[in-house]
């Protein structure tokens, strides 16, 4: 069963620090393959910290490790990076900018 | 010549150049369209006293009006474009805008326009809205039942006024019946109107007077009660004369109306059909009665 969320992506310090070690490095991969979710949503979806979930959008899907984050219910945060971009469509509404923030996304346990 | 026993005098109706305009007045119902149009064209019998001559044509079905609602064409005739603008401004402003659910569109597809909506818009006190579609600009003016929509400019064109004929009858009753019959036939002609009450005028006038400052006076040669006091031009036995005056958007419209009206007037008790003219000195158009009747 899947639940619909809004996804935002963005910079985290871990991502920025991992970046310097190379995008193939473990710190970077770890930093960019996680998804933050509110505790409320975690219980709603029925998953625990550290669980793997699959996020799915019309553009694509990918697996992420769940972290509890200080987020309002219904909102997910994934650090910017190649993993997040599997989920982002290429439509830019005529501006050049894809929907990196606010993308509707479905979550299912992996 | 005689037509159906009625003498058709060998004379002509002399008509003048005027400026004509046609508005399409619409409303939520045929009744309200008619009301607005009648009021806007009210008291417009003669240029002399009313500033314009006006009347309505047959109502239009919704699919033939600019806004898909019931509509009535209203025709206006003045001696100048300036006068037309002033008249339309007053008549649309007071007669149409005030009338429930109404809207007012230009009904003449010509280049020359007088400003109506573009001047009435100021009634909107800053809340008026302009809409422009394919060369036509509408003004939307807030009113108490919603919006009054009026087109910015109304087409004007050179037109013909003062087409006429006289019905001379044995009795008032017979004359009036003949005149009514004539009008009934003439209203079917689009682009022409008979501005007088019910299309008929009984107080025909001449352009002279014994009094200073009075420009027109009773058409004494056609007043039956003046026989003996002054010279009259009435056939024997004629006791009542009615005149029908026609204005049209072009020369042909007036002709068609006269052609429809004169034969229809040739009924029982009618002695003679005549027409008014000034010897061809004043008007550009001459409608010879014989030619009209022969077709």
């Amino acid at each position: 069963m899947s639940v619909e969320f809004r996804l935002i992506t963005g910079r985290t310090r871990e991502q920025a620090i991992g970046l310097h070690k190379g995008k193939a490095s473990q710190p970077y991969l770890d930093a960019t393959h996680q998804v933050e979710m509110s505790g409320e949503d975690m219980s709603r979806v029925g998953i625990d910290e550290g669980a793997r979930v699959r996020l799915r959008t019309p553009a694509g899907s990918g697996e992420f490790v769940v972290r509890e984050g200080d987020l309002p219910p219904g909102l997910l945060f994934v650090p910017m990076g190649a993993a997040a971009n599997e989920l982002i469509g290429a439509d830019t509404a005529g501006t050049g900018m894809p929907s990196f923030k606010g993308q509707p996304v479905e979550v299912e346990p992996a | 010549m005689k037509y159906q026993g009625v003498e058709i005098e060998d004379t002509f109706a002399e008509a003048f150049e005027m400026w004509g305009s046609r508005l399409i007045i619409t409303a939520a119902t045929p009744g309200w369209a008619e009301t607005a149009a009648r009021v806007a064209t009210g008291l417009a019998t003669s240029i002399i006293g009313c500033g314009c001559e006006a009347g309505v044509n047959r109502p239009l079905p919704p699919e033939r009006t600019p806004d898909g609602r019931p509509g009535v064409p209203a025709l206006f005739f003045t001696t100048s474009k300036e006068a037309m603008e002033a008249q339309l401004l007053t008549r649309v402003g007071q007669g149409v805008m005030t009338s429930p659910t109404s809207a007012c569109f230009n009904g003449l597809n010509v280049r020359e326009r007088v400003k109506v909506g573009s001047r009435l818009r100021y009634f909107g006190d800053g809340f008026q809205v302009s809409k422009y579609v394919e060369g036509r600009r509408l003004w939307r003016i807030p009113v108490m039942d919603g919006e009054f929509v009026v087109e910015e400019g109304m087409g004007v064109r050179p037109a013909v006024g003062g087409g006429n004929f006289f019905i001379m009858a044995e009795t008032q009753e017979a004359g009036l019946a003949a005149a009514e019959a004539a009008v009934a036939a003439m209203v079917e002609v689009p682009d022409a109107i008979m501005p007088f009450p019910g299309g008929i005028v009984r107080s025909g006038s001449k352009i002279s007077s014994k009094y200073k400052g009075q420009h027109v006076s009773s058409n004494t040669p056609y007043c039956p009660t003046l026989r003996g006091q002054t010279e009259v031009e009435l056939p024997e036995g004629a006791e009542a004369v009615f005149e029908i005056v026609v204005d049209g958007l072009d020369e042909g419209a007036v002709r068609k109306a006269l052609q429809a009206g004169i034969p229809a007037a040739c009924g029982d008790g009618v002695l003679r059909i005549s027409a008014g003219n000034y010897g061809g000195k004043l008007g550009k158009y001459q409608y010879h009665l014989h030619k009209l009747v022969r077709g």
Binding site: A93, G94 | T26, A28, P62, T65, P66, D67, G68, R69, A103, F105, V129, S130, K131, Y132, V133, E134, L138, R140, G146, E147, V149
Partner: protein
């Protein structure tokens, strides 16, 4: 004025037909495809008109098979979805694209008829000053819009799109009429200065953002309106009947009954002049 419902999609004997020789995703700029430019030219002369294939200056003949005598009617066939600026600035004649069109089609046009059998790209009819554009499919962003930095979008004319349109349809439009039979994207009528956007399908979110004047008509589903709009009343907009009558005459299959009111009227954007309106069909 052409018949919108039965727009001549079939090739007629008097048109110049351009058939794209191949399919390619390299962007092409070909504003030379316009009745104004073809006027008085022979097939060979038309074939010599310039176009850009990516960064290469080429000729229309390199890109298209050209057939037909010179005339005010042009037909374009084959895959031209990456061909930009067809009918750009055209002032006359008719141009029919039998397929999908690229961006900027009919931008700055001031007269004539442009028909697109398929979908159109972004900037369809941008800053157009007159004429009619008729799209059988959908269209991209900024239909009838203003290019960056420009004060005014579409300034006259008619655009009809049967399918959906993208974002900011009617951006800064100053005059004219845009009719969308499908859904509109975000910010329909953004920064409208005047003019009318008639949305028969679902109206996109944040309609009329920044509008000064002008009218957005939502005949389908309408979104929650922005806080900068206020409800002003319910009425029967007679002027709209005038528009519909005009569109019926243009051949669009509409009826007065289908669009009869009443409509809820909202006014805004009160961060701008506040003289715009959104009419929502009840």
């Amino acid at each position: 004025m052409g018949c919108l419902s039965c727009a001549a999609l079939a090739r007629t004997s008097t048109e110049v037909t351009l058939r794209r020789r191949e399919s390619s995703s390299i962007p092409i700029e070909a504003e030379t495809i316009s009745p104004d430019r073809f006027r008085g030219l022979s097939e060979t002369q038309i074939a010599r008109l310039p176009a850009y294939y990516g960064r290469r200056l080429v000729t229309l003949g390199d890109l298209f098979e050209i057939e037909g005598v010179h005339t005010d009617q042009i037909g374009v066939e084959g895959d031209v979805s990456h061909v930009k600026k067809i009918g750009y600035g055209m002032t006359r004649g008719s141009l029919t694209i039998r397929g999908d069109a690229g961006p900027h089609t009919g931008a700055l046009m001031s007269g004539g008829e442009l028909t697109i059998d398929g979908d159109a790209g972004d900037w369809l009819g941008a800053q157009m000053k007159g004429g009619v554009i008729n799209v059988m499919g959908g269209a991209g962003n900024f239909v009838g819009g203003a290019y960056p930095g420009e004060a005014r979008g579409m300034n006259r004319g008619l655009i009809v799109v049967r399918g959906n349109v993208g974002q900011e349809a009617g951006l800064r439009m100053r005059r004219g009429l845009i009719v969308v039979l499908g859904a509109t994207g975000d910010f329909p009528g953004a920064h409208m200065i005047a003019g009318t956007l008639l949305a028969l399908g679902r109206l996109g979110p944040r309609p009329g953002a920044g509008m000064k004047r002008g009218t957005i008509v939502a005949l389908g589903e309408a979104p929650e309106l922005l806080p900068a709009f206020r409800y002003s009343g319910t009425f029967e907009p007679v002027f709209l009947r005038f528009y519909i009558q005009h569109l019926i005459k243009e051949g669009l299959m509409l009826s007065q009954r289908q669009l009869a009111g009443p409509y809820l009227r909202y006014v805004g954007d009160f961060n701008e002049l506040g003289k715009g309106e959104i009419l929502v069909h009840v």
